[in-house]
Amino acid sequence: MLKIKDLHVSVQGKEIINGLNLEVNKGEVHAIMGPNGTGKSTLASVIAGNESYEVTQGEISYNGKNLLELSIEDRAREGIFLGFQYPVEIPGVSMTNFMRTALDEIREYRGQEPLSAAAFLKYMKEKKALVEMNAKLNNRSVNEGFSGGEKKKNEIFQMAMLEPKLAILDETDSGLDIDALRIVANGVTKLKSPENATIVITHYQRLLDYIVPDFVHVMYDGKIVKTGDKSLALKLEEKGYDWIKEELKAK
């Protein structure tokens, strides 16, 4: 589904990712862990097409297409979803208008008829229930005045609405209390299918108790330096990252 080869990314002349490789197949769950500032969010942004980052080398293919040639919105319409580490507040744009516009455009891209207003509202209601979101969400401006937990739930809600093929969740678990974590994790689990794939970027093992990863990658200094199964996450939780740094030095 997603193949990243020798990716190099710079921002403002500074190289942040240098030679990253990753392959994700449908049905798989990948966890990416690693200390702050190693480029995890940068990787997610580049996959989503954020133009502030410059890809200086390497390739990314997605379902056989050259991802780097697709516009931001076409990547989304092709099924790439980014759950933002810091969801943006957009005063004045209601959640309903936002989701209606997004869904209409995605459906049009896929050659589907737009949903009627009634069908849309019904659909939205179902998806809200999935993440146990407040009924008043519809009229609220996107993320404006949302608590940290609400913002993260809102990301999962949007993911549920748009039914992506590849979801990248960037620290969706950070700052959540145990209830919110359960809701977010349940949402993700329910949306999982053999047809789609998920990349969870996280610091904590606890999310991985709910969303069990097939692969755990450790990212350090702009590269994936170690890959293992879920036991690697447990080991990181227990021992931190120092032993990885030692291993790298030894090489």
Binding site: A76, F84, G92, V93, T101, L103, E105, L121, L162
Partner: protein, 472 residues
């Protein structure tokens, strides 16, 4: 004013002065000396002042010269109107739940003129008739708050005005129908009109008034309007101004508002389109507890120019005022906001706030913003601010990451930006309709006459509103 400085549009000025000299006899025949004397005085003032030019501080950014140097038909008489009035006005779809009064090319349309007296005593009439019918009201209020010396256009209007509207709401009357005054220009000639309005709200009177400046064809026209508004103790006026003119149209409005104790003004000016639009709003807060909210929105593109000048004078203590204007400026358009709040020495406990936010979509467009507080009292709460920015790129990325194309993402952000002003409209039907017009305007789908209540171009065209699902 020095005589030897080079005046702008001297020929037009000469012609207008002659026009006055040729018409003064007929004014004398129709009007009482009270009015004629005021006209004569204003004529002298205009003669002295001429048209405002860039040497005046308040006209530094807006150059009238090229607009005044066009050829205008100043002797324009309503009878010359070639369009068959009946067909134009056959369709009076009323979009805003208002009582509609229509003026065409500065003259009231047939059937609408005369005096309308509501059961509650409220009076709506055309100015020329009202002047004769209500001399006492005019003696008390006409010309009272206009300051001719401010600029020659106002003096010109005071000298040469012919027609306009007169509204009077008696003491303690909350007028329950919204009044909509539509001023349409549709002429083969390039006309120059001086329209004059007078609005009086008695003690504790209440009114919602919509003023529309529309045009139907693309001939250049020059409207020079002066409106006087008197709000007596405890009176409450909502004033909406909608301006959707063609790209050749020039509209100058000068609105003078005098507010007594505990009166309230909420004014909202929405400029959707126009060649050159200049709105001067001049508020005098003369009684304690008076409040004025002066708001506005402007959407300009191509080579359009919109200039909002607001002057609010806190003359006594315990008054509050707010100026909030927002604009989106595209292509090579130019917007000017000049907000001046004067807090006089005795105006203690004043609360005054000014804000002007702009989105500049192109590097060729130009935005001048100048919020300005002039404070002589020491116990006041005042603040001001202005921003000129682009669309929030992080928000753009967020929206587009959900599959929304760049154009629609921009639309969503621009609509969100203007929503604050639209939400201030207290008439629900009008709010919905303005919202729709603004959406269309932002998408570039709005025609010059679409907003006009008359809908004469295509009377069969259904008024169509998409359901606004955000309100469900």
């Amino acid at each position: 004013m020095s005589k030897n400085k080079t005046e702008i549009a001297p020929q037009l000025k000469e012609d207008l002065l002659h026009q006055f000299e040729a018409t003064i006899d007929s004014f004398e025949a129709k009007e009482s000396p009270f009015f004629v004397e005021k006209r004569k005085k204003a004529y002298e003032e205009f003669k002295l002042l001429g048209f405002p030019d860039n040497t005046l501080e308040s006209w530094r950014k807006t150059n009238l010269k090229p607009f005044l140097e066009r050829a205008y038909d100043i002797e324009y008489l309503p009878a010359k109107t070639t369009s068959p009035k009946e067909s134009i006005f056959q369709c009076d779809i009323n979009q805003f739940d208002t009582d509609l009064y229509t003026m065409l090319n500065g003259e009231w349309i047939e059937g609408a003129n005369g005096v309308t007296t509501y059961d509650n005593g409220t009076i709506v009439a055309n100015l020329s008739i009202a002047k004769l019918a209500f001399p006492d009201l005019f003696k008390a209020h006409y010309g009272e708050c206009v300051i001719n010396e401010r600029n020659g256009l106002i003096a010109l209007n005071s000298a040469l005005y012919q027609e306009g509207y007169f509204i009077y709401v008696p003491d303690n009357v909350e007028h329950n129908t919204n009044l909509q005054m539509v001023n349409i220009i549709n002429s083969e000639q390039s006309i120059f009109t001086n329209t004059r309005n007078l609005v009086i709200l008695g003690k504790n009177a209440k009114l919602k008034l919509v003023h529309c400046d529309d045009s139907i064809n693309n001939n250049s026209s020059f409207i020079n309007n002066v409106t006087e508004i008197c709000l007596q103790e405890g009176a409450d006026l909502d004033l909406y101004k909608l301006q959707n003119k063609d790209d050749e149209a020039i509209v100058m409005t000068s609105t003078f508002i005098r507010q007594a104790k505990d009166s309230n003004l909420s004014s909202n000016t929405i400029v959707l389109n126009g060649g050159l639009i200049r709105n001067d709003t001049h508020v005098s807060l003369n009684g304690r507890g008076a409040n004025a909210d002066v708001m506005g929105l402007y959407l300009v593109d191509r080579k359009q120019i919109v200039d909002n000048h607001v002057y609010i004078s806190h003359n006594v203590s315990n008054c509050s005022s707010k100026q909030v204007f927002k604009g989106i400026v595209d292509d090579q358009a130019h917007s000017i906001f000049n907000g001046h709040t004067m807090v006089k020495q005795d105006a203690q406990q004043t609360i005054a706030f000014q804000n002007n936010n702009n989105i500049q979509l192109t590097t060729k467009s130009k935005i001048d913003t100048h919020p300005f507080l002039e404070i002589y009292a020491d116990d006041v709460k005042c603040s001001h601010g202005a921003t000129v920015g682009q669309l929030d790129m992080e928000a753009m990325f967020y929206l587009m990451q959900r599959g929304i194309c760049e154009r629609n993402a921009r639309m969503l952000l621009m609509s969100a930006f203007v929503r604050q002003i639209i939400n201030e409209i207290a008439l629900p039907t009008m709010r919905a309709s303005v919202d729709e017009l603004v959406q269309k305007r932002l998408k570039g789908e709005l025609s010059a006459c679409e907003q006009c209540s008359i809908q004469c171009i295509d009377p069969d065209k259904p008024i169509h509103f998409d359901i606004d699902i955000s309100k469900i």
